[in-house]
Symmetry: C2
């Protein structure tokens, strides 16, 4: 697995682009992105579990019933959710792309992100389509990554190169994250492309399996979005033997997929709304993986711990507290906690009670921008990781007046 550049255009035969079409008032902010495969691709997606679902998800779900897609259209600035005409607008978005590219409308994945409950005007999207399509390029991943950003402060792109059946394959993705992120299925917008050849049902299996330990283990603020979606398009242009069963090649593909989804999780967490720090909670020693996951998620979701991490305060009692109310079956008298960063590791709690430690050393460790919270809950085999970020003044500022 070699990390490479190129994002969603790293794989052969994918063009991408992004423009400002006018959904957002700020003319310097791209608000419409497109990703297109040169040939039809196997396609899979996972969606938010929120009962309130954005209209684009309903339309995309229908379009992916046959497991094939060739393009992804996504706007930012408006979630097209809780609007009476939402489905109609999402279908129009697909139709506009299809007409312009000569595709069937049901080969288009459609997504939206932004404010909920404000009707989405199709006019700027229709007007922007010519520029969007003419701007498509095999180096356009960055533009597409920009066009899906909402309160994100940095573009999120990653790609990896690997080999299947002697053929060089590539797999890359872009993501938007930032707020309203919580681990209940697919938790943000993520678009992944690959030139590996893989059957739709195996692609679906790969994605569903992978998200259980990646995007479902990521929380920014405990709010599960209405518009979350992770999609993968696999166009097969790498020429590898088609993966149509759970074989060795599938395992390699899974590793490639996991490499980029973990990176995207970390990028999304590090760029959580207002975040100054990436938090990773690694739990070991649980009786099973599910228990470890429950503990890890509870820790990264604790507002109190998140605020303490913002303040570089080694307040490990809040870690214990979050473990205690997680609902996980653990013996709290066997819990060990340590904080780790590039400046070292410090143990702060053993067997559920505090141990003497240097507050100065702890402070230096916690002042870094990537913090690992190491939790051992016993001598079982269950392990899991979860990602999150600190809770800061800026989270409040950003969300106190998001619409204006």
């Amino acid at each position: 697995m070699k990390l490479i550049s190129g994002g969603v255009c790293a794989a052969q035969g994918f063009r991408a682009g992004g423009v400002h079409c006018g959904i957002r008032k700020n003319r310097t902010k791209r608000d419409l992105s497109l990703i297109v495969s040169d040939v039809p691709a196997s396609a899979a997606a996972v969606y938010t579990t929120n009962l309130v679902k954005g209209a684009p998800l309903t339309v995309t779900k229908q379009h992916l019933e046959n497991g094939i897609a060739q393009a992804v259209i996504c706007n930012s600035g408006n979630a097209n959710t809780c609007n009476a005409n939402g489905i109609e607008i999402a279908e129009q978005m697909s139709a506009l792309v299809a007409a312009r590219l000569g595709l069937a409308a049901d080969d288009v994945v459609v997504a939206s992100t932004g404010v909920i409950g404000q009707p989405l005007d199709i006019a700027p999207i229709a007007d922007g389509m010519a520029a969007l399509v003419s701007g498509l390029s095999y180096e356009g991943s960055e533009l597409a990554a920009e066009g899906i950003m909402t309160t994100d402060t940095v573009k999120k792109e990653v790609a990896v190169e690997f080999t299947l059946g002697g053929k060089t394959c590539r797999l890359g993705g872009i993501a938007k994250g930032s707020g309203m992120i919580h681990p209940n299925m697919a938790t943000m917008l993520v678009f992944i492309t690959t030139d590996a050849a893989i059957a739709p049902e195996m692609l679906k299996k790969a994605l569903s399996t992978d998200i259980a330990s990646t995007f479902n283990m990521l929380s920014i603020d405990g709010d599960t979005s209405t518009n979350d979606m992770v999609t993968v398009l696999a166009n097969g242009l790498a020429g590898n033997p088609v993966i149509d069963t759970d074989n060795d090649d599938f395992a390699v593909f899974m590793t490639a997929l996991n490499t980029i989804t973990v990176q995207l999780c970390r990028m999304i967490a590090a760029d959580g709304e207002g975040a100054t720090k990436l938090l990773e909670c690694a739990v070991t020693g649980a009786k099973d993986e599910a228990t470890a996951k429950t503990v890890a998620k509870s820790v990264v979701c604790s507002s109190l711990l998140k605020a303490a991490m913002f303040g570089a305060d080694a307040n490990w009692g809040r870690v214990l507290c979050a473990i205690g109310y997680s609902g996980a079956d653990v013996d709290v008298s066997k819990v060990d906690v340590a904080f780790k960063s590039s400046k070292g590791t410090i143990t702060v709690c053993q067997n559920g009670a505090g141990v003497p430690f240097s507050e100065e050393v702890a402070k230096e460790i916690l002042l870094q921008n990537e913090i690992e919270i190491l939790v051992s809950v016993g001598d079982g085999d269950g392990a899991a990781k979860a990602w999150g970020c600190d809770l800061t003044y800026d989270y409040v500022r950003i969300n106190g007046d998001y619409r204006t």
Copy 2:
């Protein structure tokens, strides 16, 4: 039901007091409180569901096995939780009170609140006991209310007067709240006293029933404390016929109890860490009460909505979103949402979609410090209320460096 002053000393035969004994460095802050009944009282308590439980809870639970108590000792500044010698210290606290007042140690309720995981030194408590006891008075509720405060900015006291069997009865309480408050059983420290005569088992029933719609419907930050406890002492000095069955007097008692617990919930929410606004979410039209409760809690727990309320932003999409991920069985296409305050009521969403409304009027309504979020989810009979507060810069500031 008449609201009166006096807090935990409103009822006959209850003295209270509070001193600074030295657990806290700030000498102007009381950190040790005591409430004493002139005679043994029926006693009941409910406790946090967090697996990590403060040592005082374990000790109190033992002491209340016989349903009788006569005093409550509580310190702030240290939670006596996750300490190797916690039980021992909590027992010493009880013993010190018992010795000084001539009671049995198991007639003392013991509670602690503050930082987790720092050993609690018994010395200042022992040294302060003489002053604490000599300062007890029948007008001392305020001092006791001060002594249990942590990051609370205001004392929380309330009392009510009512009649049972022709006798005037009083019931009052004090509370500390502020942070680490989430609806999973008893959710903060609340001490309630009454001179009504009621059997221990009926007192227990009254408390357990009441908290389901009061303290369990209150969230400040989604973190369930390790030290939450609500206790009631009923000393019978009012001379009413002892309530020992589920009769009309019991119903009156329940109403009295509910009157003060709802007030305390509102006070705790309004004084949530960093809060500028009290939020009350009132859900109607659910298929049953449990569904209504789930919806109401999810709304007041949403970080995004809480931040929007701080910004007086009528971002109702976040209400819909929180309903959607609550897990409640509701038809989101039938949801109506309105915001209400002393400045009026404004409907912002009907049948799951936005309706035109004046942003200016909405802003004026949301700029008040008590906001009602009215949610109708259908035509069922299920209704519930939940309380919370907005998410502010100060929440982050307070929790970013709590220990220093």
